[in-house]
Symmetry: C2
Subunit: 315 residues, 2 copies
Amino acid sequence: MVYPTRGQIEAAAHRIAFGIHRTPVLQSAFFDNRFESEFFFKCENFQKAGAFKSRGAINAVFSLDEPEVSKGVATHSSGNHAQALARAAALRKIPAYIVMPENAPRVKIDAVKGYGGVITFCKPTLEARVSTLKRVIAETHAVEIHSYDNLKVIEGQATAAMELLEEQPAPDIILCPVGGGGLLSGTALSAHYFSPATRVIACEPTGADDAFRSFKSGKFVPSVHPKTIADGLLTSLGKLTFPIIREFAADIVTVEERSILEAMRLIFERMKIVVEPSSAVPLAAVLEGKIDVKGKRAGIILSGGNVDLDHLPWQ
Amino acid sequence: MVYPTRGQIEAAAHRIAFGIHRTPVLQSAFFDNRFESEFFFKCENFQKAGAFKSRGAINAVFSLDEPEVSKGVATHSSGNHAQALARAAALRKIPAYIVMPENAPRVKIDAVKGYGGVITFCKPTLEARVSTLKRVIAETHAVEIHSYDNLKVIEGQATAAMELLEEQPAPDIILCPVGGGGLLSGTALSAHYFSPATRVIACEPTGADDAFRSFKSGKFVPSVHPKTIADGLLTSLGKLTFPIIREFAADIVTVEERSILEAMRLIFERMKIVVEPSSAVPLAAVLEGKIDVKGKRAGIILSGGNVDLDHLPWQ
């Protein structure tokens, strides 16, 4: 198993500081009273490009050496990594080649274009995305930056929990969502290095519970036909992220769609902040009573805020 | 003309500190770049009970002497003042009698009840509200706390701009919405005392432009059949607030409904925070080019975040 060292995560924090927000940690009297707990919400919805993905993307792009990086970077993504990588490449003044499914939301396409990303559309299947990316890389000689299965990306994502722990040392637990596992493996590593007594518990929609099943069985289970409003959590775990999660995450729990929706609406209504469905998954687990938070100090990573405001899921 | 002194506003800040949030001042690279300005958003949408109204209500309730206050407080309000006063009374452990129009939104009624307020419903006219309140006060001997035409309320509202100026001294301008003028008169007084070179400019919907017409003509113009999505800004100026505004506000500008809507959506989308339509009125004036912000440092008071999430106005 390979995984980032403490020193590499600290170096990543320095490397990316110029290009990210040190996002605030918010508290909520409403949630604290309701669950007799003390919550600390790390607001990556306020992050540059609207999600934690900016951390990993900048760390990966700025870790590459000059001759290697000059042809640009490339990835396939329909979501926040696409925007984050396009922005990171723009900061380094290199091209970003983004393979996107032809049914990607207009707002995401516009955001990638807004950062100067060069988009290649493909059929909305994983096979088409992978083969199209392979062709784009063959043509451009760009370096692939995978959205989660990349050590430099994992280092970058780890800095969100690292900042949370600097601000609120030694919480009992940290909750975060899990999709491909970039955020989760980074979070679990930061807890391991900077707050060893803190348990990291990942939360996943029942309709996309491949990480849960992989974690519980100890064998990789791919994400097949996932169905959830948490559109950031559809992907399978990676070759790098799965072993890190097995070693350093304490548990994974699953939540129902209606709880995600209720949690998301409560965050809007009570905290007055905009989050995307994936961000609401950890609080959904608290609403369902899946995680014992009573009397505990609980960090929650709100992963992003890129939601379609014309079609909020409770409407 | 009577108006709060500098010392009274400072005393109000101390009096209410136990029961309000010192709300954050956010910045936005998006808006700064777009308008070549530097904006400081004072986030009263994060305030207790969801709006700046908590400041004035607590200051008024906790300024009353013991025998006077023991019978409780009363007001008529369909909006944020109702919740804020109910909460302030609960903090002082006295009754709050709230007269609300029978067509008030369910969410506001529930919020008042949630704080223990005693609601009396009336027909949705100003006459019915005033006469019903008179009857309630005759029966209960409660003290009326008007939602804006009350010096203690004005002192309390002034503390929002006071905090903004402590954090970001001497901006060129401060923008805020105007309805009854409680927030505006408090803001203008705080600028006068704590940052005399700062110009305070109020922003008002064209569909409810009574403050604009009063300010420009120098004669009180009542709000008759106002029509705007900014439901916090429907009321007429008060006997106390109008003279303070004439003396201490630099200007009032009006904005179209479509600009309010666009500004509100941009705040959700770009700042990832939830605001009510009234909060978006100052930024709407910037969008319309009504206020020259280029090269300037501009404070904006986001007045509240109590919006019906089931019926966002752009949908």
